[in-house]
């Protein structure tokens, strides 16, 4: 007989709750009676809220659990909360979206929850195996979700492109992990860390392994040479799915980078030298090409895709800086990025004209006349994405650039600031259209439903709160990053 290990439910409580919620939704959806969409949404929201409560009550323990599989530190608790908040917002948006588009809502919700579960698995991983399964759970769910609108040719195309590039990147990720395993003969990140400190740093296997893992994860967070898929997938996928790819998948990707490149309990000093340099280039390229690409876009989703690529560049700056300030800035900026991106997408989903999505920028002309509230919220998100003062985006950027300057990466910070200035052009262009252009002929915007208002409002509250009182999060972050 096998002696089963002690199971510490407490440390995976949020994940367990999300799993149970997903299965419950699946069971509800299987009931022979037709189920109203609102019931599915409410069930899922309830589960997410319960999980959020569990996540808030967790106390960080700076040691591995589940025989070395997970690491429940402050960072993971923080990321879990962030991802759960994001899931709740996406649920609200999807509810509105499914009213107009033929997606199988029950299965959609289940997959959405599974995707979130995958992301939350990444955030607690202390082992390459757990991390890999988390990445795959997240990716598989998102491949399917991006193809769920059967009435749309572009949705099918998006799912194929996302799948192919995603599978390709998985190949790199797995091979990289195989080499890491080979270099240290263990898949446990903590042990890999101690093996590196032990004198393993600089071995070819290790370098190659980390490089391939970086390529694999680079695809997932669309860092520049690996970003080709992002614009097409963002444009083609159903909008709430795009939002979750932009926000959730990117946060999860950075969580994976954090887990691998700053191994639990150890800073990445041992190989900081190699990684700072590699990520310096990636970050630079990403900022320049992401922002340049966004300049010429006319489709909002495509523009947001390039904007999200550019933000990946800002975020990865923290890995170059490779210090505590950088880590805190990264975690803060992830929260800011989550709220402003989801907010912008929430508005895009909420605003419709004659039942159709307004996907090109001129479509939004005159929005402020009819829906001043929604237009105002959109302006807040765009200002924050651009980095105007008093928004979360500003504080986050300041913090990130500060971390880079602290480590004397002046050129990187300068490029960051310049590209930020550049980005004002394309963000403000939307605001100009919303406020200063006459509406198009016979353009009447549909009424914006409550779910859309709530989602956008909550996101805006987050953006403004973090922008005006960054101390709210600062203390939490200081406490959570203590152990690193």
């Amino acid at each position: 007989m096998i002696d089963f290990p002690e199971i510490s439910w407490a440390s995976i409580a949020p994940q367990t709750v999300i799993l149970i919620t997903a299965l419950t939704v699946l069971a509800i959806d299987l009931l022979p009676r037709k189920i109203e969409r609102i019931n599915i949404t409410l069930t899922a929201l309830l589960g997410v809220v319960i999980a959020l409560i569990f996540a808030r009550n967790l106390t960080p323990a700076y040691e591995t659990d589940f025989s070395g599989m997970i690491y429940r530190d402050g960072v993971s608790i923080y990321l879990d909360q962030l991802l759960l908040a994001g899931t709740a917002l996406i649920l609200l948006m999807s509810h509105r979206y499914a009213q107009f588009h033929p997606i199988a809502y029950g299965e959609y919700t289940v997959l959405l929850l599974f995707a979130s579960l995958g992301m939350m698995t990444i955030s607690i991983s202390a082992d390459l195996i757990t991390l890999f399964i988390g990445v795959e759970l997240l990716s598989l769910s998102l491949y399917v979700m991006s193809g769920m609108d059967k009435s749309s040719l572009s949705s099918g195309e998006a799912s194929v492109k996302y799948f192919l590039l995603g599978a390709f990147s998985t190949g790199f990720l797995v091979y990289g992990m195989a080499l890491l395993f080979g270099a240290c003969r263990t898949s446990n990140l903590v042990l890999i860390g101690s093996a590196i400190l032990d004198g393993g740093a600089g071995t070819p296997l290790l370098i190659l392994g980390f490089a391939l893992v970086l390529v694999g994860l680079g695809f997932k967070i669309s860092l520049v040479p690996f970003h080709m898929w992002a614009p097409d997938v963002y444009q083609g996928a159903p909008t709430p799915v795009t939002a979750w790819i932009a926000a959730g998948s990117k946060i999860a990707g950075f969580a994976a980078l954090l887990r691998i490149f700053s191994l639990p309990g150890i800073s990445f000093e041992p190989f900081g030298g190699y990684w700072a340099q590699a990520i310096w280039w990636l970050s630079m390229l990403t900022m320049i090409i992401g922002n340049a690409g966004a300049l010429v876009q006319n489709d909002i989703k495509r523009m947001l895709a390039y904007s999200s690529i550019a933000h990946g560049g800002y975020l990865s700056m923290a890995f170059t800086a490779n210090n505590t300030v950088g880590l805190q800035a990264l975690l803060f900026y992830l929260a800011a990025y989550l709220f402003m991106t989801l907010g912008a997408f929430a508005v895009v989903i909420a605003v419709r004209r004659n039942g159709r999505e307004c996907l090109s920028i001129p479509d939004l002309a005159g929005l402020a006349r009819q829906h001043p509230g929604v237009a105002g919220l959109m302006a807040v998100f765009l200002f924050s994405l651009a980095g105007m003062p008093f928004t979360a985006g500003f504080v986050g950027k300041l913090w990130l650039f500060g971390a880079a300057i602290q480590e004397k990466y002046y050129l990187l910070a300068a490029v960051g600031i310049l590209t930020t200035l550049l980005s004002f052009y394309y963000y403000l262009r939307i605001i100009v259209f919303m406020y200063m252009h006459e509406p198009q002929k016979d353009a009447v915007f549909d009424a914006v439903p409550a779910s859309g208002r709530i989602a956008a409002g909550l996101a805006a509250a987050g953006v403004l709160a973090l922008g005006v009182y960054p101390n709210l999060l600062w203390k939490v972050l200081a406490a959570h990053t203590n152990g690193l």
Partner: protein, 185 residues
């Protein structure tokens, strides 16, 4: 001696059929080459004393996954592909991969920790690689990833069914209005 021969046989087969996967014009031949690559890899696993994995590889990959793949190929009635065109971008891609491969192999050779003729691990028990050893690890230390893998399979089943089934006409027409052009079915 026999083991050495067996290794070279499997290695040659794996390489030969691996090449077959990417050069065969007919998708069916590609798929069958992949099956043979998996069989050869299973041979390598046997040589590494990973008996259980070797058979799992054959049963799961050759027996289920690739049959599914072949099934799809013949359902879609795919004929021969166009020959590979070497555009400039592709030429660069090939050059990159070849350089990358050379770099990879040089790196591996340089590594002091992996000697060319290093003998197999002496301390490995007879149990190593058996179903029992893997099961014990899977149900104790790797319990969490194992459970997560089952969640992943659930997600994959749901996803595959949802996306591959024919759209229900009511599902499409019953909407208040569809945002984009209708599909061409």
């Amino acid at each position: 001696m026999a083991a050495t021969l067996f290794f070279w046989l499997c290695a040659f087969l794996a390489f030969f059929f691996g090449l077959g996967v990417i050069v065969a014009r007919n998708p069916m031949h590609s798929a069958l080459s992949l099956v043979m690559t998996f069989v050869a890899s299973a041979g390598l696993f046997l040589l590494l004393h990973a008996e259980f994995l070797a058979w799992i590889l054959i049963i799961v990959y050759s027996g289920a996954v690739m049959v599914l793949m072949i099934f799809v190929i013949s359902l879609l009635n795919l004929q021969r592909d166009e020959p590979i065109e070497f555009t400039a971008a592709r030429r660069w891609g090939v050059a990159f991969v070849v350089v990358f491969a050379a770099a990879l192999l040089i790196y591996l050779f340089r590594d002091a920790s992996v000697g060319f003729t290093y003998p197999p691990k002496p301390a490995i028990s007879a149990e190593w690689g058996s179903a029992k050893a893997i099961a014990t690890d899977l149900f104790t230390r790797y319990l969490l990833p194992f459970e997560l893998a089952s969640v992943l399979l659930t997600a994959a089943v749901i996803g595959a069914v949802v996306i591959a089934r024919k759209p229900d006409p009511n599902e499409i027409n019953g909407m208040e209005s569809t945002g984009e052009e209708p599909s061409n079915q």
